[in-house]
C-alpha cells in the first residue's frame, strides 16, 4: 500500500535486537511504551466512560471513578433530541466532503501542471504553493471575515466550503506533486506518441496510477476540514449552520452548569467518524503525513 513514496522500509528490522536480553527489554522498551500509550489514550477512555455515567456518579468523589456502575444513555438522548447536534454533524459532513472534493480536483490539475507540463515559471509556482501551505489560519481569519461579510456569505456553509481550500489545496498539491513525480515519464511519452492529448493522459494514465496518492490527500483533507475550528467559529453564528467542534464548544455549555455527560458524548461522536475513517486508511494517512514532511 502506498509504497511508491513511502519510506524505503528497511527489511532487516530485527537488527541487533537479539543482543538485548528480555528483562532489560521489558524495562527499557515495554515499560515506557505502556506509559506513553496510557497517557495518549486516557482522554479517549475518559470521554467514553463519562458519556455513559449517570450524573450522580459523575458528581461524586466516592467509589471508583474509572468504571461505570449504572450505565445510562440519557446523555446521548439529550444530545440527539434536545440539541442541534444532528444538524451540526450533517453540516460537518457536508462541508468536509465538498471542500475535500473541490480541493482534490483543483490540486490534481495544479500538481499535474507544475510537475509534468513544466510550463514557464512552474518552479516558482511550486515554491509559492509550498509557502501558501505555511500560512496559518490564525492570521487570515480577520481579513477573511470582512471578505465573507462583504460577499454576503456570512453564516452560510458556502463560506466554509470556499475558505477551507486555502489550507487544503496547498497541502494536497504538494503531496500529489510527490506522487506524480514517481510515475515514469516514459508512460506519458508512449501515450503522446499514440495520439493521446494531455487531458486523456491525466485521466487514463496518471490518475489510475496515483490512486494511493489521491486517497492520502483525500483522507488528509477530510480530517483537516473536519477538525477546522477558527473559520467556523468566526464565520458562523446560527446554531443550525454550525459544525460539530464549534457547536459543542459554544452551545453545549449553559452558564455555569456543565453537562459533562452530554459534552463528552458530543466530543466522542464528533471524534468517532474521523477515527473510524482513519482506521481504515492508516497507511495512506501516515504516508501522506511523512511524505509531506519529507518532500
Amino acid at each position: 500500500m502506498a509504497t511508491s513514496i513511502a519510506t524505503p522500509e528497511v527489511t532487516d528490522t530485527q537488527g541487533m535486537n537479539y543482543l538485548v536480553s528480555l528483562p532489560r527489554r521489558l524495562v527499557t522498551v515495554w515499560l515506557p511504551l505502556t506509559v506513553f500509550l496510557i497517557v495518549l489514550l486516557f482522554p479517549f477512555y475518559w470521554m467514553v466512560i463519562t458519556t455513559f455515567k449517570p450524573n450522580e456518579e459523575l458528581l461524586s468523589r466516592e467509589g471508583n471513578p474509572f468504571w461505570v456502575k449504572n450505565p445510562t444513555l440519557d446523555h446521548i438522548k439529550k444530545l440527539l433530541f434536545d440539541t442541534a447536534y444532528p444538524d451540526w454533524l450533517w453540516n460537518t459532513v457536508l462541508v468536509s466532503v465538498t471542500s475535500t472534493f473541490l480541493s482534490i480536483a483543483c490540486s490534481v490539475l495544479a500538481a499535474y501542471a507544475i510537475e509534468r507540463l513544466r510550463f514557464r515559471g512552474s518552479r516558482y509556482v511550486g515554491m509559492s504553493i509550498f509557502l501558501a501551505y505555511l500560512v496559518p489560519p490564525s492570521i487570515l481569519f480577520i481579513p477573511l471575515a470582512t471578505m465573507v461579510y462583504k460577499l454576503n456569505l456570512f453564516d452560510t456553509r458556502l463560506a466554509l466550503i470556499l475558505t477551507y481550500p486555502t489550507f487544503l489545496i496547498p497541502f494536497c498539491t504538494w503531496l500529489l506533486m510527490g506522487y506524480f513525480k514517481s510515475i515514469p515519464l516514459e508512460l506519458e511519452e508512449c501515450a503522446l506518441i499514440d495520439g493521446a492529448n494531455r487531458w486523456q493522459i491525466l485521466v487514463r494514465i496518471i490518475l489510475p496510477l496515483a490512486v494511493p496518492g489521491l486517497i492520502s490527500a483525500g483522507i488528509f483533507a477530510f480530517t483537516l476540514s473536519w477538525n477546522e475550528f477558527i473559520y467556523a467559529l468566526t464565520f458562523i453564528s446560527s446554531s443550525e449552520v454550525k459544525t460539530v467542534p464549534v457547536g459543542v464548544v459554544t452551545e453545549l455549555v449553559e452558564g455555569d452548569v456543565y453537562h459533562w455527560g452530554s459534552l463528552m458524548a458530543g466530543a466522542l461522536f464528533g471524534s468517532l467518524p474521523v477515527a473510524i475513517l482513519y482506521s481504515f486508511f492508516v497507511e495512506y494517512y501516515v504516508s501522506g503525513l511523512t511524505g509531506a514532511v519529507k518532500e
Binding site: V10, R25, F36, A113, F119, P165, L289
Partner: protein, 303 residues
C-alpha cells in the same frame, strides 16, 4: 474554435495556465488577497460595521504599550518554547521505542497517532473535564495516593493554567513528532549500527554519532512545523481557558480573536495577527536551512 483548442493542447504554457486556473483563483482570492488585506487592516482603525481610516502605526504603538499584549507575547513564546522542547524530547523517545522490533508495530503506530487526528477542540473538551477544579480525575488519583491535600485548581491559577494548557498541547503534538521522526529513523540502514557496534560504540554513542546526525535534517523540518502549529495555536486555549485567568494563557492568536471578533476592533486584531508574521518567517528560514543541509547530505552540489 477547434484550431484554438488544438493550439492550447499543444502549448504547454497555455495548458499549464489553464490547469492552474482553479487553484490560482481560489488561492489568490482567499489567501493572497486576505494576507494583504490583513496587513492593511492593521494600519487602520476598522471596527465591525464601520470602515476604517488609515492611522499608520497607531495600532502597533498602542499594542506595544498594552500590558495584555505584552503578556500575550510572553505567553506565546513561553508556550511555544516549553511545549516544543518537551514535544521534541518525548516525540524522539517514542519514535525510538517504536523503531525497536515490536509485535503489532503497525497497530501501535496507528493508535499513537489518534490524538493528532481527532478534532483538537473536542479533545480539548475532554481535557477541560480532566482539569475540572472539583471533579478532576488527576486530583482524585493524587489525593488517593496521598500526594496532595486539596483538589488542584488546574485552570484557575495563572501558572497552573499555563502548564496545564502546555500539557494538553504536548499530548496532541507528541504523536506528530514521533510518527514523522519514526519515518526518518526507518530510513537509517541497520548496517550503520552494526558497523558502529563492531567499532565498540555503546548504544548511547551509536545514538549520538549515527542516529542524530542522520536524523538532523528531518528533525529540522518536523520541529519547524511543530513550532508553527504551536505558535499559532488557537483552539486549545479558546476551549480550555479563553485566555484566562487574568490573561495568563492568552496567546497572540486568541488575543487577536478576542479583540477583533467579540471586541469588534478588526484593525487592532489584524495588527496583533500581523505581528506574528516575523516569528513565522524566522521559523520558516530555519526549516529552509535544515532542508539545505539535507540536500547537501544527499550529495547535491553546494550552491
Amino acid at each position: 474554435m477547434t484550431a484554438l483548442l488544438a493550439r492550447i493542447q499543444n502549448d504547454r504554457n497555455a495548458l499549464g495556465l489553464l490547469f492552474l486556473l482553479p487553484t490560482a483563483v481560489l488561492l489568490l482570492l482567499f489567501l493572497t488577497y486576505p494576507l494583504g488585506l490583513g496587513t492593511w487592516l492593521g494600519f487602520t482603525d476598522t471596527k465591525i460595521g464601520r470602515g476604517g481610516e488609515w492611522i499608520g502605526l497607531e495600532n502597533y504603538a498602542f499594542l506595544w504599550g498594552d500590558e495584555v499584549t505584552r503578556l500575550a507575547l510572553f505567553n506565546t513564546l513561553f508556550y511555544t518554547v516549553v511545549a516544543s522542547i518537551i514535544k521534541f524530547g518525548l516525540g524522539l523517545w517514542l519514535a525510538l521505542l517504536l523503531n525497536k522490533h515490536l509485535p503489532f508495530k503497525a497497530f501501535l503506530r496507528a493508535i499513537v497517532l489518534l490524538p493528532f487526528i481527532v478534532p483538537t477542540a473536542l479533545s480539548a473538551i475532554a481535557f477541560w473535564w480532566i482539569y475540572d477544579s472539583q471533579f478532576s480525575i488527576i486530583s482524585w488519583a493524587l489525593q488517593r495516593m496521598g500526594l496532595i491535600d486539596g483538589y488542584i485548581d488546574f485552570l484557575g491559577q495563572p501558572w497552573a493554567a499555563r502548564f496545564s494548557t502546555i500539557a494538553a498541547n504536548i499530548w496532541r503534538g507528541v504523536p506528530f513528532v514521533a510518527i514523522t521522526l519514526l519515518a526518518g529513523l526507518q530510513t537509517i540502514a541497520p548496517s550503520y549500527y552494526e558497523a558502529a557496534s563492531l567499532d565498540g560504540a555503546s548504544p548511547l554513542q551509536q545514538f549520538r554519532y549515527v542516529t542524530l546526525p542522520l536524523l538532523t535534517p528531518i528533525i529540522a523540518v518536523v520541529m519547524t512545523f511543530s513550532v508553527l502549529f504551536t505558535f499559532t495555536d488557537f483552539q486549545l486555549i479558546y476551549v480550555l481557558t479563553r485566555g484566562g485567568p487574568l490573561n495568563a494563557t492568552h496567546l497572540m492568536a486568541t488575543l487577536s480573536f478576542q479583540r477583533a471578533i467579540p471586541g469588534g476592533s478588526l484593525g487592532e486584531g489584524a495588527a496583533i495577527a500581523t505581528a506574528m508574521v516575523p516569528f513565522l518567517l524566522a521559523a520558516i528560514l530555519v526549516s529552509y536551512f535544515g532542508l539545505q543541509r539535507r540536500a547537501w547530505q544527499q550529495g547535491a552540489k553546494d550552491t
